[in-house]
Subunit: 298 residues, 2 copies
């Protein structure tokens, strides 16, 4: 399997899903819906929804399972997009560029961007709970909603971002950096894998292994982000390079240097792939996604 | 029944519920959780959770139903509180005072306040989906989650706030003002009533009547807010009086004058109470709540 063409294919499935599920920008709320759509469709690797779909596929590759998982995958992308909009705000990271394009508040103003983020977060829970076209039992859907809310909430992504901002320009002990990474980035990535597992009917043993896979690639993803922020140009990243150092953010390279950090990322990826022992060829996309997360350039 | 003592009693039930369900401020996320707790416990009339509980009680006054509704009621208050925190931000209404106390961003900074709001919104969906201590069937809980997400999202509360901000200092036609009120304030109030109805097992006919009740008091609530903003002092309101006119906001009094607007609020309240014909004495709290919404002074 060629990972590039797999990713392109899955990205198209996610884009089509988002286009079908996302509200159209019409009526009195036109501008607000436009602001939501702008950031949702401005690009992006779609890592979280693809992880969700690939995890489902690793367990059960029937079309019905993929259909049930698509709104969940799209909801995860809505939550990720909301977090980027809010992270970029002047009061937070104050970034003007994201994915090579102007950030949401540059185009829609600060109030417009805050509310676009709020609505994307809220709409995600509408997607997760909507009655239409879903054969997943209600109990499982509730379990997924609870899991997503925990991963994105005060002890997950939003809490991690709060801790990250508070820790700027302070000498953060390594365990605090780990807590920030785990909450801010790791939780939603791990949850994307777990949601796919629940939605595809994973056994408890499968769930345990996939959770380890999710945790390890969540860690690797953030470490690689830290490395790219140091080693890439703004053009390569599509967002401001070197911004972590400028803001005095604690990062893995700041503790261990770039070379040692690369080794740590590679180890996490290997542990992720090892966790998939016992899964058959249906889990090959997950294995290749792990490698892609290590080798990606933005 | 004395409405004052009923409200005091219900407020205590909601406060106790929030204290029991809300995360404690400990550990690495201490400051973030403190920011969430500050706005949640700084005061408030608790109108939405009380409406939810009173609607449930109007249909079925067994303790089990009240127990099932309490986390839903608390989730509605978390969503309302998040909306106040974001509305008060410098990029939006730029208010320094709320409930007679400093607003969230005055104490926790803009980034801290944005994230406290984000986490309260997300935590609300955790409360709505949590497995613990809930005998409500999963299908009903999903239906409530979907309804709450719609009421709070892009075509509801958040969209209404976006439209409200965009419409400042412009000559807004009356139908647009109605759309703003309906989305920004009405949707979550109506949803509070509907969630209580679903959680207590309302019949389709009961649901229809209670929806009218919810819509009418939602309308009355916002009209009375508009009136109080004109006729009260900052001390009475606990927030900046006269702020609507200063910001060039479209309001009912700006269209119709204070006296005519009062008549319109009274009519909406009467229609709300009329919608409860056929409900027995268990609906008396709902009837008195309607009157309270008309006569409240902040």
């Amino acid at each position: 399997m060629e990972i590039k063409s797999y990713l392109n294919n899955q990205q198209r499935i996610v884009e089509d899903g988002l286009q079908a599920l996302m509200l159209q920008a019409t009526g009195p709320f036109f501008k607000h819906l436009e602001a939501m759509r702008y950031s949702l469709f401005v690009g992006g690797k779609r890592v979280r929804p693809i992880l969700c779909l690939a995890t489902g596929q690793a367990i059960d590759n029937r079309p019905e399972t993929a259909n049930n998982l698509l709104p969940i995958a799209c909801a995860l992308e809505c939550i990720h997009t909301y977090s980027l909009i809010h992270d970029d705000l002047p009061a937070m990271d104050n970034d003007a560029l994201r994915r090579g394009k102007p950030t949401n508040h540059i185009l829609f103003g600060e109030a417009g961007a805050i509310l676009a983020g709020d609505s994307l977060l809220t709409f995600a829970f509408e997607l997760l709970s909507r009655e239409k076209n879903n054969t997943l039992p209600a109990e499982k859907r509730l379990r997924i909603i609870e899991m997503v809310a925990r991963a994105a909430g005060p002890l997950g992504m939003a809490g991690g971002q709060a801790l990250d901002i508070d820790s700027e320009k302070t000498a953060v002990p390594f365990p605090v950096l780990q807590t920030i990474h785990l909450a801010k980035t790791g939780a939603l990535i791990t949850c994307s894998v777990q949601a796919g597992a629940i939605g595809a009917g994973a056994s408890p043993e499968q769930m345990e292994k996939l959770t380890i896979y999710g945790e390890k690639i969540g860690l690797a993803f953030q470490i690689v982000d830290d490395i790219l922020n140091v080693t890439s140009t703004t053009e390569q990243l599509g967002k401001a390079a070197g911004s972590d150092a400028n803001r005095g953010k604690a990062t893995y390279p700041a503790y261990f240097g770039v070379e040692q950090t690369k080794i740590m990322a590679k180890e996490a990826i290997e542990e992720a792939i090892d966790a998939l022992l016992g899964f058959d060829v249906k889990a090959d996309p997950l294995r290749q996604l792990a490698t892609y997360i290590y080798t990606r350039s933005n």
